[in-house]
Amino acid sequence: MTLTDPAPALGTGAGQVTDRRSARAFVDTHVVPYADAYDRVGRVPEELIERVAEAGLWAPFLPPGSGGAGMDMVTLGEVHEEVGRGCSSLRSLLTVHTMVAWTVQRWGTAAQRERWTPALGSGDVLGAFCLSEPGAGSDTSAITTTAVESGGGWVLNGVKKWTTGGQRADLFLVFARTAASIGAFLVSRDAPGVRVKPIDDMLGTRASMLAEISFDDVVLGPDALLGPSGFTAGMVLTGTLDLGRYSVAAGSLGILQACLEASSAYAAHRRVGGSALRELPLIQAKLSDMVTDARAARLLLAEAGRLKDAGDSATLMATWIAKYFASTAAVRHAAEAVQIHGANGCSPDFPVARLYRDAKVMEIIEGSNEIQRITIAGQAEREKTTCP
């Protein structure tokens, strides 16, 4: 087992990830060979974090003048799919960083954008998203972390749990209850009163460096509040989660594609009763369903991305649907990928055991599948009126 990538460092401007093809090449070279090792040690190494930065992958959707490359959302989804194909833990870090960077760009004041987006774009500052608490997950209305106005600024108190990348992040986007509603706050890791406690040995995405973050009388300036207050404060959370959900949908599709590629390769070489495993009709049935669902998930994701690029509000529901479909398909096909591999699939010698564990996480994060189904059901009546 090794975490060391022997490939030489990328030169400035060289090896930039600009599309699916370059993302696939990056992932095949720098991620796929090491993903199982990351999973076993429970962390993504600094060398990879730096390589991701060199490739311009942390926030390529930011404008060129703000540390990004102006990448469109359809392409971003394709890039996150490729990263998810290689390593869901790395994709998880990308997801939460994307959420923070996008939120600052979308809702930040000019001063907030100027202060944070260049460093978020370059990866010099890594972001993490702090919403869930010990007593509040998908039920965001139950959060108890508070931000109280004081001396022209804010005082933050509470505990956030399951914070992806929390062990490593430099900047936390914290959602807290204010007198008026739920507000979003930018909190530096080094602010007095911030404590980070690693969470290890999770079922899946084991290298995503989860943490519990405590905020004890953390004093924040007025510029820590991000976005509008009042009734629209909830939109910051809605928009942030929407993009996170889009990335998780892409990552789920990546898992599904990885299951397909691993199963196809295994079935081509593994022999049973004198013939290749892939000759067996029941194995063909599993592979055909993987191919079909991967294509369907990719179409749903591309549609959600196209609507995002167009600024169309229909992207919100399209993203719910893409994430629901892709995550459930990933779980279903990861189980079949293990089945195809037999005992080998239960061993550390093949990636499908990791894919199986990672897939289950996708049904829970960024809105559990139960919440997703309730939300999608609300579309039912509209669906009838909008169909041609």
């Binding site: 509008p228 629209t232 909830g234 939109m235 809605t238 928009g239 992207t315 919100l316 509209r382």
Partner: protein, 84 residues
């Protein structure tokens, strides 16, 4: 401009809640239709349809209570844009 905007906004709200009878002067908050998801959809719809960006300071509840108030906001922001 504002009459067209009002009709377009009202049509969007009615499409979202086809079971409800809503007119342009009714408070959609008082009717209980607005959650954070719909608020986001509304803002995105207004920004895309009328090709403008709603600044944070205009994201106030009174600007979004009715189709009429949203149309007034569109008219104001469009005028600001034209004057810029």
């Amino acid at each position: 401009m504002s009459a067209t905007a009002k009709d377009q906004i009202l049509a969007f709200v009615r499409e979202r809640y086809p079971q409800a009878e809503i007119d342009a002067s009714q408070d959609i908050f008082a009717l209980g239709f607005v959650n954070s998801l719909f608020a986001m959809e509304l803002v995105m719809f207004v920004e895309k349809t009328f090709e403008l960006t709603i600044p944070n300071e205009e994201l106030r509840i009174d600007n979004f209570r009715t189709a009429e108030s949203m149309a007034s906001l569109v008219a104001k922001l469009s005028a600001d844009l034209a004057a810029a």
